[in-house]
């Protein structure tokens, strides 16, 4: 057969495949009518065969180029992106992720660093004799006064303000969490973000509980209690997930740097997503529960909320996350 004739005879099939690619590309769903899928598969195999024989059939280079991109386009529609499969969601969220978090060394390190710096800063800011002026050096005198003033005029807010603040907390806090996660790719940069957040929070806590700021301190305690557990855990988780990625290309564990990076990033993402959802839950509590006054919702009630949150976290991270004997059996089998 002549090249010209071959092209002529195949052209309508190529055109049809092209049109099907176009049509499938416009859908977000992976499902197509079965007869179209059959037709598509047939045309794709034909185009593959044409491409394979293009050179020996002496087709002109422009046609070969065309076939390359046609097959590539069809390939992209045939092997479409896998979405988040609903069936594996439950397992991902309630089985894999807690275990991963519970057993992850990086999360443990982030926990130690965060709580260590937080408690030290709290103590140094509270007791001004050990390191005079520590609080002012860390947080800035102006900022401390501002926050003290803010908590002095602590009053009831309208529902609209509450809702706006919730939105702001989601945007701001979850954003900071993600920034911490991402910047940990360069460990020193991420460590600065984490350490600064730990020390800043610790300093504000310490400063607010000083005897001379008792009035603001009461309101501060009232404000932070309810959403504390979720928010502080969320910061640690995002930092831990980031640390896993940041260290993965430094200590590769026998893989190439690139492969180690990709593997650890995949494993760290659920931890980061867990952190984002914790931030969002914390934001709702921070927006609607935390700003209520003592008269409306006494401190012990907020304490109850905090306890409930902590219990939820413990069940999720420890009860679901604790390694089971059957996991060890599985690992043994795999080895």
């Amino acid at each position: 057969m002549k090249a010209a004739k071959l092209i002529e005879s195949r052209q309508s099939a190529w055109q049809r495949l092209d049109n099907l690619c176009e049509e499938f590309g416009k859908r977000s769903k992976n499902k197509v009518p079965p007869e179209k899928a059959r037709e598509f598969a047939n045309l794709y195999r034909q185009a593959c065969a044409d491409l394979a024989l293009a050179e020996s059939n002496q087709l002109p280079p422009t046609t070969i180029d065309y076939l390359h991109q046609l097959v590539a386009r069809a390939h992209n529609q045939l092997y479409r992106s896998k979405k988040f499969d609903r069936q594996v969601w439950y397992e991902r969220i309630f089985v894999d992720t807690p275990k991963r978090i519970f057993n992850d060394t990086h999360v443990h390190i982030a926990t130690l660093i965060f709580w260590g710096l937080f408690l030290i800063s709290t103590w140094l800011a509270y007791d001004d004799t050990i390191w005079p002026g520590f609080a002012e050096q860390v947080a800035g005198a102006q900022r401390l006064e501002q926050s003290e003033e803010m908590f002095n005029q602590f009053g009831d807010r309208s529902v609209t303000t509450n809702s706006l603040m919730t939105g702001f907390y989601v945007y701001n806090n979850a954003g900071i969490g993600l920034v911490c996660f991402v910047t940990m790719l360069f460990v020193p940069v991420g460590m600065v973000t984490l350490s600064f957040n730990a020390m800043f929070l610790g300093t504000v806590f310490g400063y607010m509980f000083r005897p001379e700021t008792a009035a603001a301190g009461m309101n501060f305690k009232n404000f932070v209690t309810a959403h504390g557990p979720f928010e502080l855990t969320a910061i640690i988780l995002s930092a831990g997930a980031g640390l896993k990625i940041g260290l993965s290309w430094l200590a590769t564990g026998g893989l190439s740097r690139k492969d180690s990076l990709i593997k650890n990033a995949r494993e760290a993402l659920p931890i980061a997503m867990c952190s984002v959802s914790l931030f969002c839950m914390a934001a709702v509590i921070e927006g609607f529960v935390s700003p209520t006054t003592e008269a409306f919702l006494p401190w012990w009630a907020k304490g109850l909320v905090a306890t409930a949150c902590s219990l939820t976290l413990m069940i999720y991270l420890i009860v679901l996350g604790y390694p089971r004997p059957e996991d060890e059996m599985e690992e043994f089998d795999a080895a």
Binding site: A49, Y66, L67, L70, V71, S163, V170, V179, V182, L269
Partner: protein, 309 residues
């Protein structure tokens, strides 16, 4: 020395890379499918992609603003219509919470727009659809949701360092992304390296037509060419490219180009020495693509493969 070592390959042999079925030639990525077909993708470079990103940023900001305005107007309208009824009260309550939803929506748009689009639309955001780019896994397959999320989160790293402008995030310079995609052989930015993805050009091309000639002398001359003339691959490529481009070139230029090949062919075919060079190349093109018979086995194989499956 190492030539005599147990390793049989010479020290000058090409290093065996980690990719056995993938190789980057210039900006082309060769992919071998499970069907044992290898085809090429053209990789998209950093500047093309920056343009797509700017489009996406515009779309997400404008699109989200329009959505907010439409929803606000709609709610305002509905609350007027249903004023005083239970539905009106409900709408009023939603409007009171509206500011919070707007802020949460902004957070979702900012961090998740790209990832959601790429996961649902097979590696394409709106900007990439318009410009014809697609995100793929580095092995040439489609990406999954995890990769879409990772590469979009880590875009932040690519935007660094920021030029600080008072409070707030500052103006991104994108230097990290530019450096990373310049160094990495597949134009991967930092987010791509973390997620293991590449961006390719996924444009639609038209079926190329074979050239036809209005000059009757082309066909006449092609009849004169020896019947056993079977051009080599490189000759075919040269002829096809020459004929494709000659339409856009001035006669003096075509003359200059044709002069490189035609005289030796005239001598080979034993044609008269004053044969027009351009005419000869066109005749060879006609002979090669329009008249040479393929070996029937291969053509039959192509047909049987195509129809039989």
């Amino acid at each position: 020395m190492s030539l005599n070592s147990s390793n049989l390959s010479s020290p000058f042999a090409p290093k065996s890379g980690d990719a056995t079925n993938l190789e980057v030639i210039d900006t082309m990525l060769l992919v071998e499918t499970p069907e044992k077909i290898s085809f090429q993708y053209q990789l998209a470079g950093p500047f093309r992609r920056a343009f797509a990103y700017i489009l996406d940023a515009l779309f997400s900001v404008i699109g989200y603003s329009i959505l907010l305005v439409v929803v606000a107007v709609l709610l305002g309208f509905l609350s007027n219509v249903f004023a005083g009824t239970a539905i009106g009260d409900l709408i009023g309550a939603v409007m009171e919470l509206g500011a919070g939803f707007a802020a949460i929506g902004f957070f979702i748009t900012y961090w998740f727009y790209g990832a959601a689009m790429e996961a649902w639309y097979n590696g394409q955001t709106l900007g990439k659809m318009i410009l014809g780019y697609r995100v793929l896994s580095a092995d040439g397959h489609a990406i999954d949701g995890v990769q879409a999320l990772l590469r979009n989160f880590f875009r932040l790293m690519d935007l660094f360092p920021m030029i600080p402008l008072g409070p707030g995030p500052g103006i991104p310079t994108c230097m990290f992304g530019l450096i990373a995609s310049t160094i990495s052989p597949k134009f991967q930015r930092i987010g791509d390296l973390v997620a293991g993805t590449i961006v390719v050009i996924d444009e639609k091309k038209w079926v190329p037509e074979l050239a036809t000639f209005s000059d009757p002398r082309v066909a006449q001359l092609s009849e004169v060419l020896p019947a056993d003339f079977v051009p080599s691959q490189s000759m075919l490529k040269t002829l096809a490219e020459y004929v494709d481009r000659r339409r856009f070139l001035a006669p003096t230029t075509t003359y200059e180009i044709a002069r490189q090949l035609a005289p030796s062919m005239i001598a080979k075919f034993g044609l008269p020495a004053d044969t027009d060079h351009d005419l000869l190349l066109c005749a060879m093109y006609t002979k090669a693509f329009l008249q040479v018979e393929q070996t029937p086995t291969k053509a039959e194989l192509a047909v049987s493969l195509g129809v039989g499956v």
